[in-house]
Symmetry: C2
Subunit: 432 residues, 2 copies
């Protein structure tokens, strides 16, 4: 953990270094991933089955690639009903928030009679990657699937590796809650390949979303273009802006809630009260004594944690925009006024009673958010990520006469004769 004082002469250099801090391991898996993709593309199910035997120690046949409805029901029946109830409550709130994102088409005829329009349609099929093992979060199933469903995606396919045959019942329960009916027990780059290119058993999708390890990320990068992908997420981050009247134990818990995700996660506190900052540091130490994931959280906090002390909270605004945090918590008296000044943040949590974790599960907004300063130019997952726009243009003879000559002039200036011809031939049908 480092402390940066805005009033120090070296602040700008130290802050720039904080922004440039590299937290992602460079795992060079690309060559291996390229080979896996090519094999699945060429050999379909056979390659998929062979890689699954090798990586997940599972002997499958084309008929057993898919997880049956009976298996899902069995898994769900084994879950604590309180958990199913919690998943349903969360899904309901997430759906309500996302349903409001459905965009409006527009269509109009302008004054020269040209008909113009823009139309949104959902992608036809989306694939959702769900990691196996400890990184399998049922909440992520909700967050990735619900925007797709709200967008109107007809076919939603889930892939989840089941190493050694172990199914995660809560992940299947989450799939059931959101209505995913097509689920395959495959993972890794081979699963991404199957979704992107299709096999005899698995039909190709149009877009692939969801988190994964370095192999999955490399595979998504490589299939991009053949299909759409969501962002490639980096390690999680939180930026908490807190004045000195907060309870240090609350703020410390918030910082640790990101730190416990990953030893490469980053938690930053900006405060106008240096003493308060020190009390938060002590509270972090104290929480770490009891937390189940203390080792991971401590490593993240020690390596990447930061406290930035500013003279006044207003001074935080340009720093926030430069950090462009994935999660921004505003634990101050008037969080709305501060939020209004912020330009770059994935998600903002307003006030002292809105820990980021409530947004991870049940608030309503998505928890798939832009990391590594990409909130400067990108957004959390939403309904629009599962839709695309088509524009419409319609002229008749009269309106083409009104606007066509401009097209001819510009086409000729650009040296594109056939462009000009395709317009002029309609303007002067008698003179070819």
């Amino acid at each position: 953990m480092i402390e940066l004082l805005f009033s120090d002469p070296g602040f700008e250099t130290a802050f720039a270094a904080l922004l440039d801090m590299k937290r992602e391991a460079d795992e060079n898996v690309d060559t291996q991933v390229a080979k896996i993709l090519a094999e699945v593309r060429k050999q379909g199910d056979a390659a998929l089955i062979s890689y699954t035997a090798r990586f997940d120690r599972m002997e499958l046949k084309p008929e057993t690639l898919r997880i049956t409805e009976a298996e899902v029901d069995e898994a769900v029946a084994a879950c604590d009903p309180a958990l199913i109830k919690a998943l349903n409550a969360a899904a309901k709130r997430i759906h309500a928030f996302h349903a409001k994102q459905l965009p409006k088409d527009y269509a109009f005829t302008d004054k020269v009679g040209v008909r113009l329009g823009l139309r949104w349609t959902p992608v036809q099929a989306a694939g959702l990657y769900v990691p196996g093992g400890t990184a399998a979060y049922p909440s992520s199933v909700l967050m990735n699937a619900i925007p797709a469903k709200a967008a109107g995606v007809e076919r939603l396919v889930m892939v989840v590796p089941t190493p050694g045959g172990r199914l995660n019942p809560l992940v299947l329960a989450a799939a059931k809650v959101v209505g995913i009916e097509e689920i395959y027990r495959i993972g890794g780059a081979q699963a991404v390949a199957a979704l992107a290119y299709g096999t005899e058993t698995i039909r190709q999708v149009d877009k692939i979303v969801g988190p994964g390890n370095a192999y999955v990320a490399a595979a998504k990068r490589r299939v991009f273009g053949a299909v759409g992908i969501d962002m490639i997420a980096g390690p999680s981050e939180i930026l908490v802006v807190a004045d000195g009247t907060n309870d240090p134990a609350w703020i410390a818990a918030d910082l640790l809630s990101q730190a416990e995700h990953d030893s490469a996660a980053q938690s930053i506190l900006i405060t106008d009260d240096r003493d308060f900052g020190q009390r938060v540091v002590q509270a972090v130490e104290s929480h770490l004594k009891t937390l189940s994931r203390a080792a991971i959280a401590k490593e993240s906090w020690d390596k990447y944690g930061a406290i930035i002390v500013v003279p006044t909270i207003d001074e935080a605004v340009p720093l926030i925009d430069r950090i462009a945090p994935e999660h921004l918590e505003l634990a101050v008296d008037d969080p709305d006024a501060l939020a209004d000044k912020v330009r770059n943040a994935g998600a903002i949590f307003l006030g002292r009673y809105t820990p980021e974790a409530v947004g991870d599960y049940v608030g309503g907004p998505n928890h798939v958010l832009p990391t590594a300063r990409s909130a400067r130019f990108s957004s959390g997952l939403g309904v629009l990520d599962f839709m695309k726009r088509t524009t419409l243009l319609g002229c008749d003879a009269d309106s083409l006469r009104a606007i066509g000559p401009v097209a001819v002039t510009l086409a000729e200036a650009e040296g594109l004769g056939a462009h000009g011809l395709s317009v002029s031939i309609r303007l002067n049908p008698g003179e070819p």
Copy 2:
């Protein structure tokens, strides 16, 4: 040019082969591009100036990197006033179409008192790459810059190489028309690096858009993540659906208007009248005798052109959706009814008097559109590409009590203790 008959037993195989046809040259420039990016990142202006001397034969100093307002004015004064007028007319229509894309924020308080919202903000700075030489299209300056301006992007930076010192006056005129004031005479991967990382003279941007050669495309792929990028466009395509009552010379001109872009472009006609298709082939031959870019157009048509004969126009719909064309022209009696059935297309041109070229320049919709079947999952350039969403969530003590327990339940089920703690510590402030 190939002809495919829907009624042939081999149709599905031939159609699948058409979809899989690879039209992009694999230019392996990535290693060289990586080096250029690293050099500019490390050495800033010095590297930029050195690469510009090498690739563009231009000796520059930091003070002469920027094209001055006087130079722009001089270039504009040298342009044919009719062209400036045409650019202004086009810009006005393009702006009117894009201004309608400004999205709406939303904010509401739900019944348990949780405040929720979604807010759109423009990216703060966008860079527009404009190619030099023959591929420098003033219309592309309009199409890339106007959505950014409509989004509210404060700083719009243009880079354009000027090999041997030659400025393209029309490109500068287009920049002036749309209000771009910051223009640098640099190009290639080095210009992309300068925009992405910044140099002493050029401040970093948040998003880079615009077309370019293989070096530019590779550079954009590599800086993606540090900044946002638009799509990496492939060779252009048109799909014309035309019944037998069209004038074959009109449809032939439309097919050639894409073919003349690039020998790797693709023009496809779907018709329900095989004889009509043959008359279009003859009209193509006839036009090729007079067109200025006949050599390019002929190569594209010969290698990649296709005519697909269907029994009825309705049979075209699933084929259209599988092709997911960049440009779709519907030269039929009731184009709206047909357009309603189409799911995947970048832009649709309705009826017999709407050649695609009118949309390239002056219709209003954008001409930067998804190629290579990516209209299945992506969209033409628009205002939203220059904006990003931030979600907002606000609880008070009561509303946290209403939804917090669900978060605690799910956090514990996922084994994320600090997540649970950050909520429970606020629910039961007396019991740490």
